[in-house]
Assembly symmetry: C2
Homo-oligomer: 235 residues x 2
Amino acid sequence: MSQLLYQHGTLANLVPGLFAGTMTIGELMRHGDTGIGTLAGLDGELVILAGVVYQVASSGKVRVVQPEEKLPFANVHYARFHTVGKLKNVTDSQLRPTIESTLATVNTFAGVKMHGRFSHVQTRVVNAQQAPYPTLRATAEAQTLFEKDDVEGTVVGYFTPLLYAGVAAPGFHLHFLSDDHKFGGHLLSLDVTEAELGIQTFSDLRLHLPVDDAAFKQEDFDETKIVKDIMVAEG
Amino acid sequence: MSQLLYQHGTLANLVPGLFAGTMTIGELMRHGDTGIGTLAGLDGELVILAGVVYQVASSGKVRVVQPEEKLPFANVHYARFHTVGKLKNVTDSQLRPTIESTLATVNTFAGVKMHGRFSHVQTRVVNAQQAPYPTLRATAEAQTLFEKDDVEGTVVGYFTPLLYAGVAAPGFHLHFLSDDHKFGGHLLSLDVTEAELGIQTFSDLRLHLPVDDAAFKQEDFDETKIVKDIMVAEG
């Protein structure tokens, strides 16, 4: 059976600063019920669970996003994770290798979802940018860090093979949302007390590009520089 | 309106020699009526027009491919080209810049179709390979060249932005089939007498990967080497 990951925009678009909203949340949500993304201007980190889009803002506040709001980049899919097992007392340095070892292959896209209790979680949220937008690399210095001990919540995100480094962040790109919806963001570090890990292997990637956006159409991408800048900004 | 390009496999898969057939022609043709590709073992060059799949074999012979035959790589879409004009007396060195100048943007995928009369056409067809397969680069030395003067026919293929160099051949990837179905292949050189050029801009790429194929799942890709090898083999 084909399992499809939908993506609007590319990480390469964000590198030179194409942060304008080029798709509405309403349109995006016709392609899945689970995912991650960011709003126009890189305004916060989106966590999409069971059809609800949450924004973690750089203030730290979490709110539900409305259908008419726009975004430059997101991934969504219909959740059909298969449970691969329970993780217990896994520290951050072992987390990504542990998840990677459960993938059927590192040569395709996969979804990751993990719910449970975490002894320590560190996240970051990019500060909303104003047009004219800076480069993605410049925003790496304009973000807010958050951390919390002993929290219950959900990790959701994706694994992207290195071959697609310009399309999305290679390796794991994970966001976090606490069960009480009071804490979240782009995941930097996570120590697992006990959590159930679900994986979904995608046979298909549907990549939607903002072909009606003048700035996207005219951008003169420096492809050789893009992957390097992605590594710095997403690292 | 969304315009979708469907692709089975990646050019990166072909680089280390993953030439096994991983999708049937019948499955492929549920996603379009126009396109290009190759059969299992890199057996010939496919030209897909109005729902019919033609194979140009390395013998030079052209035949219609059956639904149960398999392939490792192909692109298809539903033809809705818009005519951008007539080209007259365009020599090969000017052809690709001329087509590129008609694209709405070089930052997305586009389909190209050109029908008319050509004063000179040069093509190549890769010789069918047997398992265990060699690398793509090795096959560049195992191909047959064909040429013909004053021929009527169709050019069909795709433009891929440089960012997606591992996914497909960056720039133009064009195949040719004469109107009498007696001559064709992967296009190397073309002088236009008079031809109508059609372009179709894609907002969406649907990339389907052979996630059930053991060789694909296990392949340890050398991403840094892949794009270089693609440039050599497809140049």
